[in-house]
């Protein structure tokens, strides 16, 4: 699974660096390195929405730096494919 965090200037100011660092930390803590790849992206054109734009399997989410834990738990974890 691929998570792309926008690093364009607006998202950057909304805290994309914090979002990246925290997601990176959470991926490490949960040993998901092999399943989730964390990438940066230039502007995805959703600057006017509150929160940092994060795309995850082609869906867009808007994440505030304080809500990364919540986002990880509610969006990332459930979308990891189950081991068969």
């Amino acid at each position: 699974m691929e998570i792309r965090v926008c690093i364009g200037s607006s998202c950057y100011l909304k805290g994309s660096r914090e979002v990246i660092n925290e997601l990176n930390q959470l991926i490490k803590e949960n040993s998901l390195n092999s399943m989730v790849s964390l990438k940066g992206s230039f502007c995805m054109g959703k600057c006017s929405v509150d929160g940092v734009t994060v795309s995850c399997d082609d869906k867009f989410y808007f994440v505030e730096p304080d809500d990364v834990d919540d986002f990880f738990e509610k969006v990332i974890v459930p979308s990891i494919p189950r081991a068969i």
Binding site: G8, S9, N24, L38, S41, G45, C47
Partner: protein, 493 residues
């Protein structure tokens, strides 16, 4: 490079337009006034009389798009709205002239001879005879080139659009408006089209405002990692140490050389090479991100041959992160492809990438005079620095092998040096079909190596001589052991 301001009226070529925009954006970012970015187009293009294009409105639209790209946005407009943010290079549609070029064209050299070999060889009957010489019917011509070969006066030439001509992977097409379009599935982010377009209509997206914001945030320690190719970029009087000093003055908390990482990459890669050699498997270098992408996307069967080492920039970043886990790291290099590499693979350790062009914009915005800098020392070997030019990786690998196994083992290594994308593609094709018997392939997509990268400030012919390995140097092994990078894991995950 001096510190005098270039006035708006002196803007006369692409490089100055792009660097002026980057400088203005840097000034606004340092002053926390980025919301005023809209005014840049009017500052740079004042008045009502156009200077380079059909009208000032088009000139301003181009600047507006350049401002967007300087701020990490894509040059989208209402028509070109589906650009892919994972690409580092984009066509500024308003700047693309849609070059009206028919490929095979009869020039004035045509002597209107009697044999008319061109007409005879054309398989499509596209050429006819007129009192003024041969004429090619564009609707019938299939660009086979037979006429150009046949003409005894070399009067028929093949003109290809510059962007299409320089693209090594055929990733540029024209849309129905003749505007260049980059195929994101084919592009390897090498940046050849950025320097190849004579109108500067293809440009790279910048992270300059992110870097400036990091520097302004005093709660974070920000380190710069500079590519070895930075040596000599500011003219022959400006030493590497002075450049490092100037970068520190921008507000970085520390500066490291990617060449330090390169020493350890060479050290580990040579060990890997000896393992591969035992198995009779050729090893491919992994330092050039476009070469890496080339293998991944076009020669996936050779993926297992690519060295497992991270590129030198990442090795240096891992070294810094090991000392300071909260460090924010900015890589500064001549390369556009490294931006893509960091966004896709190293965003967890490297926060942003700047090109030399963007570095100059920041130095100018802060009015830092590079001549007034104290000379800082350098901890990397001349071999690590040599990664900057074609053949340098091979030389470093040979040096390590001779340190580890003796001169004979080193000179018996069969190494293929691929200088530029074309040579890389040729070698990979041969390798794929098992027709290239070598132990190691050094691949660099810019002809000449990183010193000829898309955002270098000096022509490679001036800087090349700075990268000769020196025998007075201490061994690579000792340079590596000094920094103890060998104790860290610098393999790709």
């Amino acid at each position: 490079m001096d510190n005098t301001d270039i006035l708006a009226t002196e803007i006369d070529d692409i490089d100055t337009i792009k660097s002026e925009v980057l400088k203005k954006i840097s000034e606004l970012a340092f002053d926390n006034r980025l919301d005023e970015a809209d005014t840049i187009a009017f500052e740079l293009i004042p008045g009502v009389r156009p200077r380079f294009r059909c009208c000032v409105y088009r000139e301003r639209e181009i600047i507006r798009q350049r401002v967007r790209m300087a701020m990490g946005k894509l040059p989208t407009d209402s028509h070109y709205k589906d650009l892919d943010p994972s690409l580092m290079v984009h066509v500024i549609s308003s700047a693309c002239e849609g070059c009206p070029i028919a490929r095979y064209t009869v020039t004035d050299n045509c002597q209107n001879c009697l044999t008319h070999k061109c007409i005879k060889v054309c398989p499509f009957g596209a050429i006819s005879r007129t009192p003024r010489g041969s004429v090619i019917d564009k609707t019938l011509c299939r660009n086979c080139g037979k006429c150009a070969e046949a003409c005894p006066y070399s009067a028929i030439v093949d003109i290809i659009r510059p962007c299409v001509k320089v693209c090594p992977v055929d990733a540029i097409n024209m849309d129905k408006n003749d505007i260049a379009v980059i195929d994101k599935d084919k592009c390897i982010n090498c940046g050849a089209c950025v320097t190849g377009c004579p109108f500067g209509a293809i440009s790279d997206v910048s992270m300059i405002t992110n870097v400036i914001n990091l520097l302004l945030d005093h709660t974070k320690k920000v380190y710069a990692v500079v590519a070895p190719s930075i040596q000599g970029q500011f003219g022959k009087d400006i030493s590497l140490g002075m450049i490092k000093g100037a970068i520190l003055n921008l507000g970085f908390d520390g500066i490291y050389e990617a060449a330090e990482g390169a020493d350890s990459v060479a050290y580990m890669e040579a060990k890997e090479l000896l393992e591969f050699k035992k198995e009779g498997k050729p090893l491919l270098s992994s330092c050039c991100p476009s070469f890496f992408t080339l293998v991944e996307n076009y020669f996936p069967e050779l993926k297992d041959n690519v060295s497992t080492l991270v590129p030198p920039m990442a090795a240096s970043a891992i070294y810094i992160k090991n000392m300071d886990p909260d460090a924010e790291i900015v890589f500064i290099g001549p390369c556009i492809s490294k931006k893509a590499d960091v966004l896709s693979n190293y965003i967890n350790i490297i926060s942003a990438v700047l090109t030399f062009e963007e570095l100059v914009a920041m130095l100018r915005a802060k009015r830092i005079n590079i001549r007034n800098q104290a000379d800082m020392s350098s901890d990397s070997s001349s071999y690590g620095k040599g990664f900057a030019r074609s053949g340098g990786v091979a030389q470093a690998i040979r040096k390590v092998v001779s340190e580890l196994e003796g001169d004979e083992a080193s000179s018996s290594l069969e190494i293929q040096i691929c200088d530029g994308s074309k040579e890389c593609i040729n070698a990979l094709k041969l390798l794929k079909h098992n027709r290239l018997r070598v132990d190691f392939v050094e691949g660099m997509c810019c002809t000449g190596g990183c010193i000829a990268g898309p955002s270098v400030l000096q022509d490679a012919s001036h800087t090349k001589k700075l990268f000769k390995p020196s025998d007075e140097d201490t061994s690579i092994e000792s340079a590596v052991l000094k920094l103890r990078i060998n104790e860290l894991d610098i393999h790709r995950t």
